[in-house]
Amino acid sequence: MISIQNVSKSFGMQHVLRNVSLEINDNETVAVVGPSGVGKSVLLKLIMGIFAVDHGQILIAGDNITTARSEAEKNVIRSKMGILFQSAALFDSLNVYQNITFPLVERTGYAMAEIQERAQEVIKSLSLQRYLKSLPQELSIGIRKRVGIARALICEPKIFLFDEPNTGLDPIDGREVYDLITECQKSWKFAGMVISHEIPEVFQVSDRVAMLLNGQIEQVGTPEELISSTNPAVQQFIQGKIDGPIKIQ
């Protein structure tokens, strides 16, 4: 569903990603983990076509977003994807219901009745009924993330990208968000990519895990394979040790 092939990206003299390759299949969830500042969020924005790659290509359900010339071409490919941003990125001036229905209202020619019907489905699934008239600033970060998930799900994406889904959440809310991701994946059957540095919590939602280090994929495997890995960098990261090949920058 997502095919990242030899992707490199630099900002000025800083090489963020170097020849990164990763495949994410249908109905599979892959976690991309790694220390802060290794380029996880940059990878996500390359997939969305928000940043341009320096080298390599990214195929989204067979369409190459890296060669799409215009925003209109990129938008056709983006419409297959949903994303939950770190801060949920809800629109401050819109209430919860307006935020959830926003992509359908703005992007499609659906009748209001159809939009309402689809909205009711995701609102019920994510238990957001009591917050519909609230503004984002009146909500806890946990509820905001749920609204962010609902806003992406209403378009029935084939691919769902999660950028640090439990950032800013307490352990209970963090666990709830991961449970929600698992439940939504079962119901909506999307290919998922979760960017995180929360180990081992992210393992519960992942079929496979890719560890990113120094701009390259250090290891890819099932959570069990990573836990039993002999790679000292992987072990250092999983166990949260200070001493090891990963240097704090």
Binding site: M48, G49, E71, S79, L90, D92, P103
Partner: protein, 255 residues
Amino acid sequence: MIANFGKWILDNLEAWGRAVIFISQTIVACFKIPFRFNLFMTQMYQIGVNSTLVIALIGLFTGAVLAVQAEYTLSQFGATAYTGSAVALSLIRELGPVLTALMIIGRAGSAITAEIGIMKITEQVDALRSMAVDPIRYLMVPRLLAGLVAVPMLTGIFIVVGIFGGYVVSVGLLGLASGTYINVMTDAVTSFDVYSGFIKSFFFGFIFAWVACYKGFTSGFGAVGVNKATTQSVVTASVAVLVIDYFITTFLTQI
């Protein structure tokens, strides 16, 4: 030193290029359908309605001050009868468009830059892109069109209230005959004066929206980035208004 100067030139050229591309994309987006009328009306309310009171207040006192100054100067030549025309021509041709634009830049321009800057740093602009919604069409087009419509309308309010302020001072406090104030004014003001004032305000509305949105879209990260962008937005737009005012005035006086 020469290298630094060269870099400064190149950086400025690049920034100008980006700004021109940005406004070109916006102008093209203005003609794309569907037109988001509700967003346009929201911006008309934010820029226009919310500024009306302050514009009227400033217009009133500007007219009043102009009347006092004009009466003082003209009295030295025994020409106080021409106070009405001095007040009206000053407001219509120059002070109305310029002061309205400067006030809108300070009040609404800074708010637009801060709003878009905060949307950028909280990933709301990226969220629009991720949902296949063009940020230029959604954020920029309604603000540009509202600027083009609201600034000339506010200029009209400024001028009318300013002339009234001048009337109150001239007739009520300085003892000029009401008929003299009005007759001299209507004789002196031509339709060309009115057109030239509104042509200026139209350009000023364009500059206000362009600079405010562009600075918001290109703001740096964090509170410092938004702060800097907001300050730059107000300073750049204010200076641009005064510079362009000179060129438009020169051009209009030649034809």
